[in-house]
Symmetry: C3
């Protein structure tokens, strides 16, 4: 039997010792756990970034994977920690909506309240180390999630902007994610290629299937790898070129 | 039996091939070793940062863990490499003080001098690859540390600033670490909440228990997750706001 | 038997969900695979950086290692994906030359064309997730590379600048890599120490064996850990100090 996989997604960065402490505590509880870093570069406190990130990554993992998500601006206050069972996977995350974007419905959500699985002393500022990590370690040892706390049917959801359709058929969306290459991902799901795309003030003249359909430096619109309208500069950085980011309005028109 | 855990802490960054070469050499010696990245973003040559990082991370790991630390401005010169046995864990580090902050006393420190466990050719500039990595691989295979070299009772210690107490009871400390969120960690261990904190020229008006006790944007003082006085901007960046960093003076007064 | 080692080298960064999705797909195919991050910080689209990186890292890994390299500006266009067997290791990389710098000759190169091992739906922009990852997973399960596609003897090679020798014996090289410390690595292999080195307009006065042969702040020339002429500022950053980078000319003279 494989050792259990525990993935880590945080806004901790790696200059600080936070990620290392989390790993130490997990391995202290279960030295056989297999740790897989997803990201420690979620922008600090950015729940929407985390939500988009997880929706695009979590579904690819095999059943039994346990995802530990610590993007947690409300640490130490009233927010609770949730255990989510979904599509055969498990997830530990603060109840702040950072995990709710994915399309799959959760099978079962619990409030993590049983201190038996926590570190004996819990700080007010670092639940990643003191609660998430030891709970993850115990789950990977086979602890039944039912022991963590009561089932709940209420949790925070992250409000996401939805595109609006004008009476004349024009769709008004916006940029919801800027990737590492400066590509602008919008909230517009594409089922057929648009005829015209305007990002901010800029007409994106070329509608293509992939980056290499155009020349380096060309500004293009295409379908992203997750099915959304994407605006890119070929082998360049569209975000920098257009001074565009999350929230930049994008207009889309289709041919009749 | 679990495969042995080898953690890596360096100032190598990950754009350069140094970390990858170290991993390759370790796995070349012991393909079963389990590598765990702690950080490759220690600021270049910053021994004090490394020391603070390790003191906050190493104690959480289980016995048998082997920590490889390569923050090594003196590579190729006269500095030696140490093997440290402490609290059931092992550590390989340059003899430059970067590992000495932790409170636990080492059980046994050795000078790594036996070239039998090194790469056949040792460069003058990359002992991480040529000495640390193969020695770590061999240790993870069960080599007795006694074979690495002689025991020593002398090693470099890192001078750390200690807070000074004025005759009137005012404590003068300083910032010793800035974390990923821009929180300022000081050298003042807190046993009870202070009445007044001044960081640089700025009065930190609010003393709280955790970030979410105040509103986003508030400047607060609290006890950090490792028990030290910390100054933070809630969901912001105190280092940027106060233009403060390592060495910034901090004054603390308690009520009688 | 050890679980198979799969290394990952990309220009994806870790703020975006790309690396996480690749890991998820690999583990979805083979939950026992052991993932080892080499780098996700290859500068975007920088084939030469990737080539230099791989040449300096891959040879240290043990036989059986599978290296997945996704630095892929031509994704979705006409470029093919290659499977390379070399020195007992395997490598998956786009056919863009990013893997060709290493001195070892490949034993066998194949075009990856058999969609049976791909994700059922292949996007036009993210072959890392849709082709590289599942193929790597299947290879790690023991799939015979011969099933991936036909052998080829033609592939892209990366043009690398070679130093030129003047009639008077002066060698004209250039910087080909800047490491994390700002050290300038040139395309000049050193077999004996030079007498004089000029980088850009700056005479590098000191020729040393290792950094600590000179004082912090000194500008020095030495042999890098991979045998090339390197220019460094001791405990500083030569790239910043000299405003030098990839392509900066370097002149070298030896004593007769």
């Amino acid at each position: 039997m494989s050792a259990p996989i525990i993935t880590l997604t945080t806004d901790f960065g790696t200059r600080s010792p936070f990620v290392a402490a989390v790993k130490g505590v997990i391995l202290g509880v279960n030295p056989d756990a297999r740790l897989v870093d997803l990201s420690h570069d979620i922008p600090p406190f950015d729940l929407r970034h985390a939500a988009f990130f997880l929706a695009d990554a979590v579904p690819y993992f095999p059943p039994e994977t346990l995802h530990v998500v610590v993007v947690d601006p409300g640490v130490g206050g009233g927010r609770e920690i949730l255990h989510v069972a979904r599509a055969g996977q498990q997830l530990l995350a603060p109840d702040n909506g950072c995990w709710t974007l994915s399309a799959d419905s959760p099978a079962c959500v619990r409030r993590v309240r049983e201190p038996r699985f926590w570190r004996p002393t819990v700080s007010r500022t670092f639940h990643g180390r003191d609660i998430f990590a030891p709970v993850a370690g115990h789950l990977s040892l086979g602890v039944d999630p039912a022991e963590l706390g009561p089932v709940t049917t209420r949790w925070c959801r992250l409000p996401l902007p939805t595109p609006r359709r004008d009476p004349d058929g024009l769709l008004r969306g916006e940029v919801i994610f800027v990737d590492h290459f400066g590509n602008l991902i919008t909230n517009v799901a594409l089922t057929r290629p648009p005829a015209r795309v305007v990002a901010g003030d800029t007409d994106v003249s070329r509608i293509v299937h992939t980056y290499s359909d155009a020349a380096p430096g060309d500004l293009v619109a295409l379908t992203s790898s997750n099915g959304l309208l994407e605006i890119a500069e070929v082998q360049g950085n569209a975000s920098r070129r257009l001074a565009a980011g999350v929230g930049t309005p994008v207009l889309i028109r289709w041919n009749q």
